[in-house]
Amino acid sequence: MDAAQLIADAQKRKRVADFGAGDTVKVHSRVTEGNKERIQVFEGIVIERKNGGLAESFTVRRIAHGVGVERSFLIHSPRLEKIDILRRGLVRRAKLYYLQDRVGSKATRIKEKK
């Protein structure tokens, strides 16, 4: 294995939460405001999980005050504290970009995996 790969592997987290597109999650991330640090929680539906290795990321979408909000996180980022999986979604594709075009109650409607 080359040195670049070793450097990448050394930064990866040992255990990555098992979740994918369609799941509803609560993401706890550390944010720095001035010189204070606190945990910020972002809850929504995972609409994609993309790239691989150290650069792997996922995007969470939620409707906040009637406006669609998306936030992307790097899975291996040290700023990511933890991910709670609230609900498993039953979806037929890996990228749920079609949710971006939806308005109202259909925008967040995803069947639950039984």
């Binding site: 080359d2 040195a3 670049a4 790969q5 450097i7 990448a8 930064q11 550390r30 720095t32 290795g53 150290l54 650069a55 790097l74 291996h76 980022s77 040290p78 700023r79």
Partner: protein
């Protein structure tokens, strides 16, 4: 010491302390040995020659074997002369990545990847023509200068062989210098493919002063 020779290993990301992800090129740099010190008395100018990676004697021709024997050093596979500058080096000195620290700015010289015979859009950043509406000129060169000149001006932008050129990327930030593994992590891309030989020097133009 301002110079070191290395080989490109590849690229990856590094998370900084504040959690940002920085793209880095990993370079296996040094240890290099000062093979020869050229002096104005003996050679007419001041310089030093760095050697990188041990070479098999079998793979050297007689001229090179003779040269190494005369200098009384282990044969090296990569040799390059650098201007002395204000550094004080002697033959036999070792150069490692310890010369560099995080936050320093460096320039990297190497040979770019070969692109073969390419058109003007890739080679000269030409804009090409329209893609549709019956344009019929898609990726072709359009004007090439004065039509009254009765000759083609030298150096005009035409398709042709691109890549395999000497390229220097300026002012790259050192993210980490790993002395144990002889690795240099620089922010951003450098010329050449994996295993390409690279020359790294303290940045010439950087406005950010090195932290001694």
């Amino acid at each position: 010491m301002k110079h070191i020779i290395g080989r490109k290993v590849g690229m990856t990301n590094v998370f900084t302390d504040d959690g940002r992800s920085v793209p880095v090129t990993v370079i296996e740099a040094g240890p290099c040995q000062v093979v020869e010190r050229k002096t104005s008395a003996a050679h007419g100018y001041d310089a030093f020659v760095l050697g990188f990676e041990d070479a098999k004697i079998k793979k050297l021709n007689r001229a090179m074997r003779g040269r190494f024997e005369k200098l009384n050093v282990a044969p090296k596979s990569v040799l390059r002369e650098f201007p002395l500058g204000d550094s004080d080096v002697k033959a036999g000195d070792m150069v490692t990545v310890a010369e560099f620290a995080a936050g320093d700015r460096v320039d990297v010289t190497g040979t770019s990847k070969g692109k073969g015979f390419t058109g003007i859009m890739k080679r000269w950043n030409g804009v090409g023509g329209g893609a549709s509406h019956g344009s019929m000129i898609h990726r072709q060169p359009a004007s090439n200068g004065d039509t009254n000149a009765a000759k083609t001006v030298k150096g005009s932008h035409r398709p042709g062989h691109f890549g395999v050129e000497r390229i220097t990327t300026l002012n790259l930030e050192v993210i980490r210098a790993d002395q144990e593994r002889n690795l240099l992590l620089l922010k951003g891309a450098v010329p050449g493919g994996r295993r390409a030989v690279l020359y790294v020097r303290r940045s010439v133009k950087s406005k950010t002063k090195a932290k001694a």
